[in-house]
Each structure stands twice: as structure tokens, then as C-alpha cells.
Amino acid sequence: MTNLDKYNEVFFTNFQANDSQISTLTYQSIPAWDSVGHMGLIASLEEAFDIMMDTDDIIDFSSYEKGKEILKKYHVVI
């Protein structure tokens, strides 16, 4: 499984998003990605990539695309 597969899988599982909408997802753009959903997303990403994100990065994680950029800081290239 590539990092992109793992990344997408986390979004599918947490938000029940489909292939077509996943890349355009932003924080609070769908009901499932609210503040509670956000913490679940972060917990799943940390588990999937075995990382621990800084609080500032959790706050900045505002979209599917932005998330890819942030994960680079943790040596996760998607």
C-alpha cells in the first residue's frame, strides 16, 4: 500500500467520502469533518503513519491538499 493509498483510506474511513470528492475536501466542508471529526482524522493519520503531529500542524490541517504538505514535515511523502 502506498502512502497515498493509506492517506486516502484514512479520509474514506473517517468521512465516508468517495473518490470524486476526496481531493476537494476542506475542514468543515462536509458535516463529518467538524471539530470532532478532525480529531478522529488526526488520530487515524498519526496511527497510519506512526507520527505525532504538533498542535500548530493540527490546527493548520485545513484541507486534504494542505494535509499532504504538512505530512512532509514528518517525512511522509504522499
Partner: protein, 252 residues
């Protein structure tokens, strides 16, 4: 010391303020009950190291130290991140470390109030923020915050200390709701005056008022506080969440 019921077998507990008073008793009580302990303190000393070695040997559990200053955000972060990098499991967090302060508001500078809050509130929140992330991944955990009866009741001379503990109590109640979906419980203990070094630093009159107000007319023993920490940390309290347990011998 109680006899062991091994109610913390296979659990790892991170305990702050482990070098003296209530924290030291909690380390021993948890070790007696089968927990591996990560004992946090500000500085490495021979006495602390010897205590940890003895405890480990006596109860056959791992007891390891980590050192950081609660006034130093970077030190806290780096020390805890090391544990995370080691993929260390933390089942229990006891936020016990704190700083005592007494004095009327008019005799307390704002700088001092901020320092008290830094140690007793902000650093505790930071530790919770980091450790709870591990617990969220594990989908379980128990956090015990050391508050105080003066964070619940107004007492003259405790505006800084009492307010910092009241803030910690509020955070405990709020975080109980935020963490519950991850099967993490968080509770607080509010001890009355306890027979530790901290109590000896108090003004005699202030001490007499607190002891006099207690129905049992005495100080708490550190073991009496550690016993409640043990209960809250263990699965015996599996449906207790967001609560503050007073251990004050029945304050008026």
C-alpha cells in the same frame, strides 16, 4: 502502605512530581500494584534515582525517570516526544506536580500569579495534550489531575494557587467530554492539607484554619491521597469520569 491487589498489572503510568510528597507515594503505590512507572521530576538527584531503583527492585516492575522543568515548554515537549518516538505506551497519567503559593492578592504580583498558572495549569494542559494523543491512538487511558480543595472553596490567601487549581478542575470536566469518545477518562483529586513538605512551608495560622475546618481535625496522609489516585487510575473506577474527588476528612 496497602497490600498489593495488582490492579495495575500490565499498565504503564506516567507520574509527574515523583521525587517527593504525594507523587513519591503514588509511584510506590502504583508499583506495588503492578504498574510500570515513568517517574517525572525536575532534576536528576542521587536520592530520586535510588528511590526509583529500590522501588523497581522491591516490586519487580520497571521504574524509569524522565526529567523536565514544568516551567519550560520546550523541555516538556522534548521529553515526552522521546517517549512517543520510543513507541512507549502510557495507560495512566497522573498530573501531580505543582507549585504551592499562599498570599493575599494585594501582596501577590501579577508575575507570580502567572508563574503559578504556568506550572499548575498551562504545563499540565500541555502534558495532557501530548499524552492524550497517545491514549487516543490506544483508545484507552486514565488521567488523574491533582487539584485542591482550595480550587473548589474560597480560602483567603489562595487567590493564585486556588484559581490555578480551579482552572485545572474546569479543564478536567471539559476534557472528560472531549476524551470520552476515545475511551479516555479524566478525573481530579482535591486533597485538603496533606502532610508533605509543601504543608510545612505554610503559615501556621493558615494551616490551623484548614485543619480546624476538617471534621477529622488532621492533615491527610500522602498514602490516603495515593490510594484515591490508584482507584481513579485503575479500572475499578471505569465509569467515573469528569469528577473531582475531595479527600479532606470532611471539610465544613
Amino acid at each position: 502502605m496497602l497490600s498489593s491487589n495488582n490492579i495495575l498489572t500490565d499498565k504503564t503510568a506516567l507520574i509527574t512530581g515523583s521525587n517527593r510528597g504525594i507523587g513519591k507515594t503514588i509511584v510506590e503505590t502504583f508499583a506495588l500494584n503492578g504498574a510500570s512507572v515513568i517517574a517525572c521530576a525536575r532534576k536528576e538527584t542521587k536520592e530520586h534515582q535510588a528511590f526509583l531503583n529500590d522501588t523497581s527492585e522491591k516490586y519487580g516492575v520497571t521504574v524509569r525517570p524522565i526529567y523536565f522543568d514544568l516551567a519550560n515548554e520546550i523541555e516538556i515537549k522534548e521529553s515526552l516526544k522521546k517517549l512517543i518516538d520510543e513507541r512507549c505506551r502510557i495507560d495512566i497519567l497522573v498530573n501531580n506536580a505543582g507549585v504551592a503559593h499562599g498570599g493575599f492578592l494585594q501582596m501577590t504580583t501579577l508575575k507570580t500569579i502567572k508563574e503559578v498558572f504556568e506550572i499548575n495549569f498551562f504545563s499540565q494542559l500541555m502534558i495532557i495534550q501530548l499524552v492524550s494523543r497517545l491514549m487516543m491512538r490506544q483508545k484507552c487511558g486514565s488521567i488523574v489531575n491533582m487539584a485542591s480543595v482550595v480550587g473548589m472553596d474560597g480560602y483567603p490567601g489562595y487567590s493564585a494557587y486556588g484559581s490555578s487549581k480551579a482552572a485545572l478542575i474546569y479543564a478536567t470536566k471539559t476534557l472528560a467530554m472531549e476524551f470520552a469518545p476515545y475511551n479516555i477518562r479524566i478525573n481530579a483529586i482535591a486533597p485538603g492539607l496533606t502532610a508533605t513538605e509543601m504543608a510545612t512551608q505554610m503559615e501556621k495560622k493558615a494551616k490551623e484554619i484548614l485543619v480546624g475546618d476538617s471534621a477529622m481535625k488532621r492533615l491527610a496522609k500522602p498514602q490516603e491521597i495515593a490510594n484515591v489516585a490508584l482507584f481513579l487510575a485503575s479500572d475499578l473506577s471505569s465509569f467515573i469520569n469528569g469528577q473531582v474527588l475531595r479527600i479532606d476528612g470532611g471539610l465544613k
